[in-house]
C-alpha cells in the first residue's frame, strides 16, 4: 500500500509503510533509484528513509499533482537499480577504552562482552537510511538478544567513530555530536568528509559488516586514514 503525502509545496512523501522492515526499505530503495535514474521534471533531490522517499521539488517547475503522476508510474520498476550498492568491511575495536557501554550492554542482555562482540560482528547490516547528523548511518537489524532501549541519560558528546547500538539498530557517529545510543566500540575510518564527493562513505541501501581489530591495529588504521592512505574494503553487490 503506497501513500502520497504533502510535506508543504516543496516536498512529496511517498510512504511504503510505518515500520523498520527490510522489505519496506527495499521498495524505498527501488523507487529512489528509479527517480534518480530518470528524474521527473522539477525534482531537486530525494531522501530515502526507513519507510518512505521524500522527494524535494521545485514548485515553480512542477506541481505536486504532476509529480505524483510521474512517480506513480515508477513504483514497482526494478530495472532502474543500475547504481550498484556496496558491502563494506568496517574495522571496529571493541576494547574497553573504545567501548564504555559494552559491559553494561552485556549485563543487561544476560550475555558476556565476548558474546556481544561476536553477535555484533557476526552479521551484515543494511544501511536503511542516513540522517540525524551528516553521514550517520542507521543500520539493522541487530540480533534480537542485543535489542535495548536508548540510554536514559544521553551523552552530550559522543566521539567521532563511536560504534553504537539502540533498539534494533546499530550506527557509527561520523562527527562529534550528542547521542543517546550505547557505545560498544569504535572505528578508525572516516565516514564523512565534506571534501569528498559524495561526502559520506556509505550510501543508503549499502551493506556493512564489522571486523574486530585490536587497539594497535585501530591506531595504525587511524594514522593511515589521517594520511589518506587507508582505503576501506568493500565489494560491489549485484542487485
Amino acid at each position: 500500500m503506497v501513500t502520497f503525502l504533502p510535506a508543504g509545496d516543496t516536498g512529496l512523501v511517498v510512504e511504503f509503510g510505518d515500520a523498520i522492515d527490510p522489505t519496506i526499505n527495499e521498495q524505498v530503495m527501488d523507487l529512489d533509484a528509479a527517480i534518480r535514474a530518470e528524474p521527473p521534471e522539477g525534482v531537486v533531490e530525494t531522501v530515502p528513509t526507513f519507510r518512505s522517499v521524500l522527494i524535494h521539488f521545485d514548485p515553480l517547475r512542477t506541481s505536486a499533482e504532476s509529480l505524483s503522476e510521474s512517480v506513480r508510474a515508477l513504483i514497482g520498476s526494478r530495472s532502474a537499480r543500475t547504481m550498484k550498492s556496496r558491502h563494506w568491511k568496517v574495522p571496529v575495536c571493541y576494547e574497553a577504552e573504545h567501548a564504555p557501554d559494552l559491559h553494561d550492554v552485556a549485563e543487561r542482555s544476560g550475555l558476556t562482552p565476548d558474546d556481544v562482540v561476536a553477535m555484533h560482528s557476526g552479521r551484515a547490516y543494511r544501511v536503511y537510511m542516513i540522517g540525524f547528523v551528516p553521514g550517520y548511518p542507521y543500520m539493522g537489524d541487530l540480533d534480537e538478544r542485543l535489542v535495548l532501549p536508548r540510554r536514559e541519560d544521553p551523552r552530550t558528546r559522543v566521539p567521532v567513530g563511536a560504534v553504537a547500538i539502540a533498539t534494533s539498530l546499530t550506527a557509527i557517529y561520523p562527527v562529534e555530536s550528542p547521542g543517546g545510543w550505547h557505545l560498544i566500540g569504535a572505528t578508525p575510518i572516516r565516514l564523512f568528509d565534506p571534501g569528498d564527493t559524495p561526502p559520506a562513505l556509505f550510501s543508503p541501501g549499502d551493506k556493512v559488516s564489522f571486523q574486530p581489530v585490536d587497539s594497535r591495529r585501530f591506531e595504525r588504521i587511524r594514522d593511515e586514514a589521517a594520511k589518506g592512505i587507508y582505503t576501506p574494503e568493500y565489494q560491489e553487490i549485484a542487485s
Binding site: L5, P6, A7, G8, D9, T10, G11, V13, E15, D18, A19, I20, D32, V44, E45, T46, V47, P48, T49, F50, R51, S52, V53, L54, H56, P59, L60, S63, A64, E65, M129, I130, G131, F132, V133, P134, G135, Y136, Y138, V175, F192, P194, G195, T197, P198, P199, A200, S203, P204
Partner: protein, 344 residues
Amino acid sequence: MTSLLRVATGGTQTTLQDLGRFGYQRFGLPVAGALDPFSLRLANALVGNDPAAAAIEILGHGPTFEVDAESVRVAFTGSHAGFEVNGEEATIVPSYRSHTVYRGERLAVRAMPDSQVGYLAVEGGFEIEPVLGSLSTYTRAGIGGFGGRALRGGDALPLTLPRASERTERRLAAPPSIGHECAIRLILGPQHEAFTREAVETLLTSTFTVSRDVDRMGMRLDGPTLEHSGGFNLVSDGIATGCIQVPGSGQPIVLLADHQTTGGYPKIGSVISADIPLLGRRRPGDNIRFKEVSVPQAEAARRSAERDILQAIKSIADAPPLRGIDLDCLYNRNLISGVIDAWD
C-alpha cells in the same frame, strides 16, 4: 594586493549564505542557505550580482567591517535598518540601495528593530571556494562559508573585485514589506493524523509567540500545546524546510534552513515556500498565526511570490545621490510610523 573586507566585530551570528547546498540530504547533510531567500536575492541584484550568489547573512546584533580594498559596492536588505559608514564623515545608508565604501571606511550594520535577519551583499562576491557546490555555512558540521563558522572579529573576507565597478548607485523603487502582520500559510501534514482534532483546530486558530529558542535550525513556538492522538515517536522519515514538528512536550517547532534531514517526531503541518522568508524575519516575542491552504493554493502563492521578486528586481533603477537628504530623519520617521512605502 588582495582586497579584503575585514571583520571588526562579528555580531550575534553572521555567516555567508547563498540559496543552499542541494543534493546531499540523502547523506544527512542539511541544505542550509538563507533564512530569507527573498531578501538575499534583492541584495545581490542591487549590487549587480547573480541573485543566487552568496552574501553575508546577519542574525540578531549586526557586525562591523573595515574596508581593506580600493573600494567595494555593497547593499543591505531584509531589515529597514540600513547601515552606517564612518569615514571622513558619518553617513547612514538606507536599506535597499547600493553604496560604495572606500579603503579605511568602517561599515556598521544598525540594530534591526523590524527583522531577525538581514543581508549584506558585496559586488562581485567573495574569493572563497564553494564546498559541495555552495558557499552556505552549516556551522554544526563546520562546512562551507568562511571556515565553516560564523564570522568573528579579526577575520578577513577575500573579495573577488579589487574595486567597485564604475556606475551609478541603484535602489529599489519601493522597499518591500517585512510582513509581520501576515498569517503564515501552511499545508496540513504529512502527519496531522497523529494529532487529535482539537490539536489541528488549535494550530489553525491560536496565536503563537516565537520563543527565545530560535536559531537557523528551527523556531520553537510558545502558546497552546498540541496533543498527539497516539505516540509521539514515529519511525523516522524525511523533513522539508517549513515542516512543523511536535515533540512530546506538545510545543511546535518550525524547522528552518539548517534543519536535520530526517526526524522521528510527527509533523502536523508544513509552512508553504512563499512564506518561508516571512518566518525567517520573525523575532523572539513576535506573534505567529497560521492559516491552512491547499496544495494548489500554495503553488499559486509561490508563483505569485516569484512574480513579486522578479518585479522588484526589475524595478531597480538609478538612485539619487545620498548627500543633501536628511536620511536620519527620514529613517526615524519611517520606523516610528511603521509605514514605509517609498523613499521620497
